[in-house]
């Protein structure tokens, strides 16, 4: 229970740091009226907007006002669209969540079995095949993979729609594109985790007591390899989010990635800030889930230091 409490507290502190950091960077990065208003606008108009957006107050007052606003769900108004930033973000978020989860599921369903098989037949042609797939998978830029899929399945075969969302058919290519590079990394990592485990004493014990190969893999090797695999998934979720931004552009998927791309191009800071905070919250939540999963997967890890150690080990 204490383990969970410490984790929750740490997540809250990180979140507070991120929000404060975003605030500080936003306020020191320049005057929004310079970006948003034309150069030749009258000084009175400029002042009007400075007062309207609260830019005339001291930094402390702005910070307090910022927290007060955030606590009521007010993330400011998108300066281009004129709509509340949070509403715009929340309207798009489910689409990106759907895409991200499907991409992740694809990566796991392809990556883990491939990695296990490669480790089982280490050094064979099968192993080399899987490892070649892995190298191809993460050398392939996801936007190029997406374009090839569009050319083949949308324009040539006419099986799948090339853009938009709504039906399951719309989801297939974006999820596959997003999942491929991740699957390659997971396959590679699963393979080395499984090979690492296979030389342990308990594996010899399992073999000598007569457990078959399938049973050895499923109930002896894999449960021990799963902790580093979960770790790497937690670490790579950030890359998945970055990948989603690009993939959404390729397939005109109406999610947060498209929104943030347009917001950055327009320097629509309220919108960028709302998306940043949401993504940071997602990352912190993911890390929390991964940390809690350690405790569940590996009873030895029920204190904070060990979990951190796991993460460091996996990164090395």
């Amino acid at each position: 229970m204490r383990f969970v409490a410490v984790k929750l507290l740490r997540s809250a502190v990180t979140m507070w740091l991120v929000i404060t950091f975003v605030f500080v960077v936003l306020r020191i990065s320049g005057d929004p009226t310079d970006i948003l208003l034309p150069d030749d606008v009258a000084q009175e108009v400029r002042e009007f907007y400075r007062v309207k957006w609260g830019l005339d107050q001291s930094l402390w007052q702005q910070y307090l006002a910022y927290w007060k606003a955030l606590s009521t769900g007010d993330f400011g108004v998108s300066l281009r669209a004129g709509l509340p930033a949070w509403d715009m973000v929340m309207e798009r978020a489910p689409k990106t969540l759907l895409l991200g989860l499907c991409g992740l599921a694809m990566a796991l369903f392809i990556g883990i079995p491939l990695g296990v098989i490669a480790a089982q037949y280490q050094g064979s042609a099968l192993d080399r095949g899987v490892m070649s797939f892995a190298v191809f998978g993460f050398s392939m830029p996801n936007f190029f993979l997406g374009i090839i899929l569009i050319l083949v399945f949308s324009l040539h075969l006419r099986w799948l729609p090339s853009s938009g969302s709504g039906t399951l058919a719309h989801l297939v290519m974006p999820a596959f594109t997003l999942g491929t590079a991740f699957a390659a990394q997971i396959a590679r990592f699963t393979r080395s985790a499984m090979i690492d485990v296979s030389s342990r004493a308990y594996m010899r014990t399992a073999r000598s007591k007569g457990a078959g190969p399938l049973r050895r893999v499923v109930s002896h090797a894999f449960p021990n390899a799963v902790v580093p695999i979960v770790t790497i998934i937690g670490l790579k979720v950030g890359e998945l989010i970055g990948g989603a931004v690009v993939v959404e552009t390729v397939f005109a998927w109406p999610g947060l990635g498209r929104l943030v791309t347009i917001a950055v191009a327009n320097r629509d800071l309220a919108l960028v800030q709302a998306i940043l905070i949401l993504i940071a919250a997602t990352m912190i939540l993911t890390n929390l889930i991964v940390d809690l999963m350690y405790g569940w997967l590996d009873p030895r890890v029920r204190d904070a230091r060990n979990a951190a150690g796991h993460r460091r080990e996996a990164r090395a």
């Binding site: 374009i147 050319l151 080395s192 950030g238 970055g242 943030v260």
Partner: protein, 291 residues
């Protein structure tokens, strides 16, 4: 798993293996790309931004209707795709090279500092490493571009900072263990200054893992730059990069697929070659890293 021992690799005898075909091909392609990066301006048959409205949308060589003046065809403004491709390759590779070098120097330097001073310096650098590893860098880059606006300096710095934390972590670990080695202590006993020990004795000994990290980081930097340019937030017209070229070509998939596919193939083959070379190098430099 990174190995934290910096023992010089002792190889039994001059046993030379033949280079695998894939590695030879990868090396050849990497040399070609490097050649293009240096000589793009000399090699381009036309100026890459030269518009020729009478020659719009010409297909590349084996396709019907190609023009012998433009082997790779032309784009919507009649600009020669081969010339654009050469210059785009130059931009992308030069940016990735510069970014990788900046990141390697920055990260390695901070790693040395953390290992040398220990204490709060180490704490601060290690905390920054953890933060860098935990946050999605692509998103941070987007935020920076939104806050500061896009300029070449900002963009180059983003390339440079990318991946610094991995060099820092590796260097810190390696230096800490190298200091315990006999050779470092011997030089210290002979009166060598710390700077001399690090530069002349420790650095050469930990070079292997750092070079391996460069071969991992370099293709990732290429993908990072091309991704940003592809979504229109990196290199923008009138300049061109492989990602920008591909993003431009995306709008013409129906009637001019080659505009997107040709730059895509160049990006893919480049990152693939370097990954293959990196894997090979890793196997040679550090046999315990197999797998």
């Amino acid at each position: 798993m990174t190995v934290f021992s910096a023992k010089p690799q002792v190889r039994p005898g001059p046993r030379r293996q033949r280079l695998p075909l894939s590695v030879a091909l990868a090396a050849g392609f990497a040399v070609l790309i490097l050649f293009i990066t240096v000589f793009a301006q000399v090699l381009q048959p036309y100026a890459f931004e030269e518009i020729s409205l009478l020659d719009r949308m010409k297909p590349p060589f084996p396709l019907e209707g190609y023009s012998p003046d433009h082997w790779l065809g032309t784009d919507r403004l009649g600009r020669d795709l081969l010339s654009r491709l050469l210059v785009a390759t130059q931009t992308s590779i030069a940016l990735a090279l510069l970014g990788t070098i900046i990141g390697a120097i920055l990260g390695t330097g901070l790693g040395f500092l953390a290992a040398h001073y220990g204490g709060w310096v180490d704490e601060v650098i290690s905390a920054a490493v953890d933060f860098g590893a935990a946050m999605p860098y692509f998103i941070i880059a987007l935020a920076v571009l939104a806050f500061l606006g896009n300029s070449m300096i900002v963009f180059l710095l983003l390339m440079g900072i990318y991946g610094w934390e991995r060099y820092a972590r590796i260097t810190r670990g390696l230096v800490l263990s190298a200091r315990q080695e006999g050779y470092a202590q011997a030089v210290h006993a002979l009166g060598g200054s710390p700077a001399r020990i690090y530069a002349r004795h420790v650095l050469p000994n930990i070079m292997g893992p750092l070079i391996v990290q460069v071969t991992i980081n370099f293709p990732e930097t290429i993908l990072f730059e091309t991704s940003l340019s592809f979504i229109g937030l990196g290199i923008r017209p009138p300049l061109t990069s492989l990602g920008q070229l591909l993003g431009d070509g995306r709008d013409y998939l129906i009637n001019a697929w080659w505009l997107a596919v040709i730059p895509g193939v160049v990006i893919f083959l480049t990152t693939l070659s370097i990954s293959i070379l990196g894997d090979h190098l890793r196997a040679r430099l550090d046999p315990s890293l197999q797998g």
